[in-house]
Symmetry: C2
Subunit: 414 residues, 2 copies
């Protein structure tokens, strides 16, 4: 035996299938290089979708109170239920699923949507087939790879093997062409979509539910951005009749309440959802939650409860409106340049189209000329090529300054 | 299409291999039945290992302060690093791994040990072979089953297929007989052990590290109870030279700081640890943390930092000593009955031996006669048969009352 020895444990083959060039670290590297080249430039970061506005005091004071109560004999609490505090589960069922027939027992409180995506993947196991919107949040594909549902990346198609990519773009109103989509066991779907900002209409969601029912598929619906919907589109898949038999919904307080760092979310697994052998999925998910998780922080949960109080919701609505207005400033800036920009209306992102261009090239070009960091659309799947995602999280001055800098590019893009 | 339809998605075969009769729900059910039978009896719960003492104010006030800061423009923070705040990672490396050569970059902050056990399992994948101490914390086996490393439960042996059970009992000083243990890729080990309370000596841990090195295995060392060690046994596997090339360590603030509901822990993956192809495990674990997790709550992390301050540690040491004294009260009560009880010295549990008895029978008997809830040892593996785990979390009055009730059983057990 000597120093430097290797174990004889084989590396997990699934991990080998993950691509090395992970999106956000690559952006961070290019940002760093840019900062070295232009040490005096004032960088504007419209890249990662991270909330920036303070959390309303009514919410943080509830968390502070809960924290301090843990120092008292009467207020101390140890383990809570793995599924979340009943009071919060009831409040979520009431506030988010009114008249949709979702019971509080079907609501599982989590530490955020990204964490629950991988717990849902553990639930489903490695033998299911999967479809994802293209473009979409990279965690769907990456967690499918980690679980072994997906295979290697193919350079030619820029897709992973064994994944069905459902292209969403202006020509199909950012909704998959279901008639030409093969059946899969699992269909990941998010509305509003990250990155495109498109919220599926009621009629589109009805089609999706009907497609899943006809195929015996399970929809994993990500509604993390649903609070941003302003045009009356459904905020939950469970607004659609029949969805409870074919859908799981994952959601979050992150973008709704600025809880990206506080960590709180939830997942609804309806009692009606069953596997081909009739076994209810909720029983297995409960087991996953009890074995692989131990509940969200009780302090974060106290904050979640305050978010759902009438005063909390009112305060949060203002913040959401603020971000949405930011997004419209960005959309307008691009549109004034004659560049087509989507999103904004129902999301905190602008999704900007540069036909014929590589999205990394446009990313580099805008960074170079305006010192603005964005996200190249191709990071969200091959269908994101030619696009940039521009985040509206930031203060108003930043947005106006970004708008001004972008407008100076008029001649460049014309 | 009609109501009540099943999906065509197959149930995850791994989930089918989990046993239905889950330990703590079964205990809860029997407790409920008992409460119905004796509605006026004052139940004492020494079952689940849940902390009960208030958290020192110096720690909760740091969390309250962090919560309130999130309402200010200067203090607001969104996403932190998925790996944890650097300041906390550095504090953990300093406080817990002094002189062991653990770098802060090797420390990954988590929302608790149980959660990290399943993240480590995702890291390792379904094709590794696994050994666990018998008895031990059920999450090792259960997460191995969920990942597909283990097979069905066999009624005859009371073991799951494809798992090596390393028996730990008084005759081998609660340390596995490594000479007769077959090689596995992964060796789960915990010190102090939950439920036996046995802390491995330095010499035992040296044997374990040598065994792993000789076999090219990876040890997943759970040190969640290390703060309870009072006899000078190592508090970390990394006190043993050569361990960094063969071990991952999972730990927690839960039992150390009463954070069972606050949720905070950490895992150390050394840079030296590599797979058979030479690839460093830390790179894959970092990817798991970034894809399947989004960091622990920033409020909990502020509390963790306060725990590691000199005043915080001093306050926590008192709480730990208090629980350990509780444990000795329980150990003494059993010993005074002529019943052999282990643990206590280095753990908040008593591990009580009833030779020739079924542990569920003893559980029922003690519940019936003393209204005290314990945990039947067999819930921790077949090697726990004939034993009970009795938890020392609770206030002093409760322990003294439990001791009194147990002593009335003298004639019964004699």
């Amino acid at each position: 035996m000597h120093a430097g020895q290797r174990s004889k444990v084989p590396r997990n083959v699934n991990m080998e299938n993950l691509r090395g060039g992970y999106l956000f670290p690559e952006i961070a590297m290019r940002e760093l290089e840019h900062a070295r080249k232009y040490p005096h430039a004032k960088l504007i970061r419209l890249g990662i979708g991270d909330t920036t506005e303070p959390i309303p005091h009514i919410i943080t004071s509830a968390m502070a109170e809960q924290a301090l109560a843990l120092s008292t004999v009467r207020g101390y609490r140890g383990y809570g239920d793995e599924q979340g505090n009943q009071e919060l589960r009831m409040a979520i069922a009431r506030a988010m699923y009114k008249d949709m027939g979702v019971k509080w027992e079907e609501v599982f409180v989590s530490d955020g949507a990204q964490c629950d995506i991988s717990r849902v993947q553990m639930l489903l196991g490695s033998r299911v087939t999967v479809a994802v919107p293209d473009p979409s949040f990279p965690a769907y594909v990456d967690s499918s790879i980690i679980l072994g549902q997906a295979g290697k990346f193919e350079e030619e198609t820029r897709k992973h093997q064994n994944i069905v990519y459902m292209r969403c773009y202006p020509d199909n109103n950012f909704f998959p062409d279901l008639e030409n989509t093969p059946r899969t066991d699992i269909i990941f779907f998010c509305s509003p979509n990250n990155p495109t900002g498109a919220a599926a209409t009621r009629s589109q969601l009805e089609q999706l539910v009907e497609f899943a029912r006809a195929n015996g598929s399970i929809i994993v619906h990500d509604s993390a951005y649903s609070a941003y919907i302003s045009d009356g589109s459904p905020r939950s898949i469970f607004e659609i009749p029949g969805a409870k038999e074919v859908a799981i919904e994952i959601s979050s307080f992150s973008k709704f309440a600025g809880f990206t760092g506080v960590r709180l979310g939830w997942t609804v697994v309806p009692e009606e959802l069953s596997y081909s052998n009739g076994f209810p999925a909720i029983k297995d998910f409960n087991r996953i939650v009890c074995t692989c998780f131990n509940g969200a922080s009780n302090i974060a949960q106290a904050g979640g409860l305050a978010c759902l109080s009438p005063d909390g919701r009112q305060a949060l609505n203002k913040v959401i409106e603020f971000y949405r207005d930011n997004a419209m400033i960005l959309v307008d800036a691009f549109e004034s340049l004659g560049i087509k920009a989507y999103g904004g209306k129902n999301s905190p992102y602008a999704w900007v189209h540069f036909p014929g261009s590589s999205s990394w090239d446009v990313f580099d070009d805008i960074l170079e000329k305006t010192h603005i960091v964005t996200v190249p659309g191709v990071g969200f799947g091959p269908g994101g090529e030619e696009y940039l995602r521009v985040s509206a999280f930031g203060n108003r001055e930043t947005m106006l300054e970004a708008s001004k800098r972008l407008k100076t590019l008029y001649n460049h893009f014309k």
